[in-house]
């Protein structure tokens, strides 16, 4: 619809421009013609010149024209008479005076010839000291407007009248355009609407009739083609996700055996330490395969929208604490101590999230620290409002800042960390990547991609950086749903 309006506006613009151009061209043309008309002086001017050129003869016996004036009269084929002012008789005339021209005049006949003609000859007058000079031109040389009188109001309102004319003309021409193009516009409108609908992925069907039926048919075919392609794409995506889900399922039982036996061997005191160490490696790698397959499965489901997220207001602090507790509980060797460096007592930050997915993302980050620091590392966890208001325990102060719209879950370690290049590569990666290696030789990628996918499900983002503690730092930034709820801080005894 907007495009049609734009089209109409464009036409109106072109029309206005055309008007202006036409007006200018017409004025120019008229000026040229009129100037040519005036180039020979015009009949009134000739009459004036002739009146000025009549001279009394020295002997008092009449009048005579100067030779130049006579030549001018002959040039335009005009005759002339000089009428005496008192007697109203002809006192001088040219030789070629037609016989039908009277020799005596009355006041009314002089008024008539001044306004019009004598026997069809257009006449023009000019006064001189000796009377009235009357010039008669050939019959078809001039047309005279005999009653040139105008209503005064009309003349006074000429500019408005011209404007009215211009507007009326414009409206009439626009109506002609609309009428002429109505059918075209009617045909274009559904096609334009259809083209605008296509990018939204919705199917389009337009009636194939009217001026642009061919175009409508092409659009319908395009829509059909897109629909089929979408269906095929969706089918392939579903098949791929199902395949990954199938592999992920089928690998679980055999992997259970590998992990189970490896764990038993690892703890079998009869075995020599070297063998136990090998079993530990098998166990660790099996766990990595388990995490990889599980991440791949979830990532593919999220990517193909096969796992609709169940977003509810959730307490991020509780989710992160539970994930941290689960991680510590599973860390039997205590090689990966977790330190909570957030505010204590902690605030309950509420965000819209899928509890299970967010928990998974946080757990992935813990495992990331573990996987890339085989010799152990300390993991630092914090949950805070983004905007620097985290160091306060006051609900009012937090509430008062009004600038904290994000909740930051930060998991960092004091382990090996990453080089600047690897960090940059991770930040810019939009697809699952297997970076060449980090310092421990383990690829980062799918786990972090999954974290990013999960953050995006909640409308959040992921930030990666070097940690102040020396290792790698990942922050999940989630939009805060409401201001943090403070603990029942001040009137209960502190531990």
């Amino acid at each position: 619809m907007k495009d049609i309006l734009r089209l109409t506006r464009r036409f109106a613009g072109i029309m206005t421009l055309s008007f202006c151009l036409l007006f200018a061209v017409n004025i120019l043309l008229l000026s040229v013609i009129v100037s040519r008309q005036n180039s020979n002086g015009g009949p009134w001017t000739i009459a004036e010149e002739t009146a000025a050129a009549i001279l009394p003869l020295p002997d008092g016996g009449g009048f005579a024209l100067t030779p130049e004036a006579e030549a001018a009269l002959q040039n335009c084929g005009a005759w002339a008479v000089l009428i005496d002012e008192t007697t109203l008789r002809t006192v001088w005339q040219t030789e070629d005076l037609p016989p039908s021209v009277p020799a005596v005049y009355s006041a009314s006949s002089i008024a008539g010839l001044t306004r019009g003609y004598i026997d069809g000859y257009p006449t023009f007058t000019a006064s001189c000291g000796f009377g009235l000079m009357v010039l008669g031109f050939p019959r078809e040389s001039y047309w005279k407007h005999m009653w040139p009188s105008w209503d005064y109001q009309f003349i006074a309102h000429v500019p408005q009248i011209f404007l009215l004319f211009a507007i009326s003309n414009a409206v009439v021409i626009f109506l002609i355009y609309l009428t002429a193009n109505y059918r075209l516009l009617r045909s274009i409108r559904p096609i334009a609407a259809g083209i605008q609908t296509l990018p939204a992925g919705r199917p389009v069907h337009i009636a194939e009739r009217g001026l642009l039926s061919g175009l409508a048919a092409s659009l319908n075919r395009t829509s059909e083609l897109l629909k089929n392609q979408q269906y095929e794409l969706r089918r392939k995506e579903t098949a791929r996700a199902n395949w990954i889900a199938g592999v992920s399922h089928d690998i679980r039982t055999p992997l259970s055996m590998v992990m189970g036996h490896a764990e038993q061997l690892k703890e079998d005191s009869i075995l020599p330490p070297a063998q136990q160490k090998k079993a530990a490696v098998i166990l660790r790698e099996s766990e990595r395969i388990r995490d990889l397959v599980s991440n791949l499965n979830l990532a593919s489901k999220l990517e193909y929208n096969m796992q609709p997220a169940c977003l509810k207001p959730e307490n991020v602090t509780a989710i992160v604490r539970q994930a941290a507790a689960d991680f510590i509980n599973a860390d039997i060797e205590e090689k990966y101590p977790v330190e909570w460096i957030g505010a204590q007592p902690a605030f309950a930050y509420t965000v819209m999230a899928d509890r299970e997915l967010l928990s998974r993302a946080v757990m992935n980050l813990f495992h990331n620290c573990k996987n890339h620091n085989e010799d152990g590392c300390t993991i630092y966890v914090s949950v805070e409002a983004a905007g620097g208001a985290t160091d306060t325990n006051s609900f009012c102060r937090i509430h008062g800042t009004g600038s904290d719209s994000l909740c930051r879950i930060r998991i960092e370690d004091d382990g090996a960390g990453l080089s600047d290049e690897e960090l940059e590569r991770l930040r810019t990666a939009s697809r699952p990547i297997a970076s060449d290696s980090d310092e421990s030789g383990q690829p980062h990628g799918l786990g972090l991609l999954l974290v990013r996918q999960i953050a995006e499900v909640s409308g959040g983002t992921v930030e990666m950086d070097h940690s102040n503690h020396g290792g790698f730092s990942v922050s999940i930034m989630l939009p805060l749903l409401r201001v943090p709820f403070s603990p029942d801080a001040d009137n209960t005894p502190q531990e």
Binding site: H249, D250, I251, R252, T253, L255, S256, M257, V258, M259, G260, H261, E263, Q264, S286, E287, R290, S294, N315, T317, A318, R321, Q322, A324, A325, I328, N329, A330, I332, V338, E339, W340, I341, G342, Q344, P345, A346, A348, E356, V381, F485, S486, P487, D488, A489, T492, P493, Q494, E495
Partner: protein, 239 residues
Amino acid sequence: MGADYLKQKHILLVDDEPALLALVTSVLEQEGYPFIRTAATAAEALSAARASAPDLAILDVMLPDGNGFDLLVKLRVFTDCPVLFLTARGEEEDRFRGFGLGADDYMVKPFSPRELLYRVAAILRRTYRDEDPFVELSGCRIDLTRAEVIRSGERIPLTAKEYELLSVLSRNSGRIVTIDALCEAVWGDNPYGYENSLMAHIRRIREKIEQDPSHPVSLVTVKGLGYKLIPAKSGQNAS
């Protein structure tokens, strides 16, 4: 990992994969559970359970002659024993279905044998708590049925909230229980804002169970995260 009487419980293990049955049996036996019966099909499992009702059933979901969910329904006709699903099916709807049928826990393969042992121990402890209601700690024992701490022969009563907290902590003894989980257990569905109250209650519990409450050894704080109840090692109890 668990009290000795719990090790005497009969466990029924159902999985169609013989190698996995062997593995889990071996893991449980090594941990000290001698009474393990295995079944590879739903029919075998039913027949074994009818012959002698198990104290705990570990079920796979996909079985050659049916599925674990149906098997659980059939088991429920004649036994209320706790059930743990151990399956490759990790989808949310599967887990919800399992829990919806009354399963006590749901583990997805591949699993860590150690985690399985923890979960088995937790289920048994929870289910058969009344058979031995004492929680042995370093320096005291807690009698959960009477809500008392027994220290040096003296019986110290627990308040309702202290009892709730110790119940949750003892069910997860040796593991961190988060501040949020503890608050939820004591103050219900809207537990936000009770963190300082929780600290106060923990301090009072320590006064009852610890020899030196300022330097706790049985109920330790995991900074920022939660608390952990450390069970006494064998023979360590001083009550």
